[in-house]
Symmetry: C2
Subunit: 306 residues, 2 copies
DNA sequence: ATTTGTCATAAGCCCTCTTTATGGGAGGTA
DNA sequence: TACCTCCCATAAAGAGGGCTTATGACAAAT
């Protein structure tokens, strides 16, 4: 390890020239001119302290020294080429997605199959977590996170805007005639600012506070489950609960949907924007997930400024 | 072979960094700054399409991709280092000398042993031939040739000036009292211009031509042998026949020695002037062979212009 | 004798790589 | 908590290596 390495570009030229026994052909292979190869070989010969080739009239021969050097170099470069291309191919066939629970459970599970059908040679690996991971410290390729799309150094694509409307189990929906009726029910995630915003948009002035356990972690997913279980009314994103609504497991009693000020974003490091598996996933999901979700036949979307 | 190689300097940086798991230490080993290593790794990561290291707080870890790349690269670079240093060491331990017969037989055999004692790890290989070899087309390191030292592209050191004087076997020397007596004997190499020059210096005007077989190849060596065999008188370089003269096998009847207009030179390509085995041989032989030879107690050297 | 194939050399320019300088993040420590 | 230190990232700027173009030489092939 103490010996300084010889000039590598010279070795590359030598390796090619030794295989072809021709500077001209080596140059062609390396995509450079014959003069450049000649120059590099000269450099190397000076470093080695002996000629590496015999320049015979119309052909090139390795000297003894060259003969001693060539096999090792050819092997070494072959190893480099193999290792490199193998690792690159492998790197392209695995896509690790860090994603928040709600999006994973409510959207991705229904659609990821299509991606995998379209790209059968890309293996998808999920990493479900709540925090915005640090791409420097994990082996995640892309992440799907909720927020406003203002992450420095990352490319962001809005997938679904986080609109919201109250939903509840059908067993609780009987008493609900007008928005104010919701206040009689247990509110899931009572401290969520969405309640204030939605009631304001619905014309209900007073929203009394409500005591109870606070849920902070990924509200959507857990709150949706509680609502499904009939534990109260929750403020959910319709696009995520399309299936439950259609099946009648959940009821959205009022068509009023507030436009969320944040959304779910696909993000990845700018430096890796051209990695094949990232391109494939981005192109697919951006075309697949409408940024402004279809709220259904009875949706009324009201923009809300927070 | 079709895949273009990745940037080699980036690989070199990666290889060192992968061994040390530290950009800083890798930089130290490579004799550059930490910033340069960081830059190179970044380049490589873009080429590969995936991060190679995880930048954890106070330590560095290889990613899966890096882990896949590292062993091959370390092995390849080790092979390069080994092959290179081995070939260079071997190249330095063999010295091939192309030399003319006369110098080889008459001077080198008596002295080369000393060189080999002084440099026991340099293996000497001789290539005895008459023509001035083309260093581009043979694996000769240095050559010893007769001439005037005016070879373009080559470094020349005068080893021994080709002085000359007539010599003959003692059996023939009885009749010889004055230079003109030599004309009665058979002259070996009769067309050699040295005859005219020497007789002119000796004050003998007429030198009649002489018929007989012509000898052209390396005159010194063959002519000396013929003279030793008592076949006539030859024009020889005293420095080459010191031993024969001292032993009485040859006689130099007159102290008059003409200074030759050419000599024996050590030559080698300028580009290789610093190759260790060439330096060693040059330094030794230049100090060993006096360019203007000692002509002995009874030598009178007369400069001759051709 | 001319053409062709191959390598060497000179001159010049550009781009890569390096260094310098600086900042940020997270442990370790008082 | 505050500070210090270790380590990597980044920006800017400079230098030099390495490439290209152009030309020449040499010898074999035509």
């Amino acid at each position: 390890m103490d010996e300084p390495l010889p000039p590598l570009s010279a070795l590359r030229a030598f390796e090619a020239a030794a295989r072809h026994l021709s500077f001209t052909r080596a140059a062609t292979e390396l995509g450079m001119t014959q003069a450049a190869v000649s120059y590099q070989i000269k450099i190397l010969e000076e470093r080695v302290g002996a000629p590496l080739f015999l320049r015979l009239p119309r052909r090139l021969t390795l000297t003894e020294t060259g003969e001693r050097l060539a096999p090792g170099m050819i092997e070494a470069f072959q190893l480099i080429r193999q290792t490199f291309s193998a690792s690159r191919q492998k790197a392209q066939t695995v896509l690790t997605i860090s994603v928040v629970q709600s999006f994973a459970a409510k959207w991705l599970v229904d659609h990821i199959g299509e991606f995998q059908l379209n790209f059968p040679n890309i293996a998808v690996r999920f990493d479900v977590s709540q925090d915005l991971i640090d791409f420097n410290r994990s082996e995640v390729d892309v992440a799907i996170r909720s927020g406003k799309g203002d992450w420095p150094g990352l490319v962001s694509h809005l997938l679904i805007r986080a609109d919201f409307a109250p939903m509840l189990a059908p067993s609780l929906a009987g008493e609900v005639r007008e928005p104010a009726d919701l206040l009689k029910l247990h509110r899931i995630g009572p401290n969520d600012p969405w309640w204030h915003l939605w009631f304001a948009a619905a014309g209900v002035g007073e929203v009394p506070g409500q005591s109870g356990p606070e849920l902070v972690v990924d509200s959507q997913f857990l709150e949706g489950n509680l609502a499904l279980a009939g534990r109260g009314v929750a403020m959910l994103t319709p696009a995520f609960y399309r299936r439950e609504l259609e099946a009648g497991w959940l009821v959205q009693p009022f068509p009023l949907v507030c436009a969320g000020s944040f959304g779910y974003w696909l993000v990845y490091p700018h430096a890796r924007r051209n990695a094949p598996q990232i391109r494939a996933f981005r192109d697919w999901i951006v075309g697949r997930a409408p940024a402004v979700p279809d709220v259904g036949p009875n949706g009324i979307v009201v923009p809300v400024t927070r």
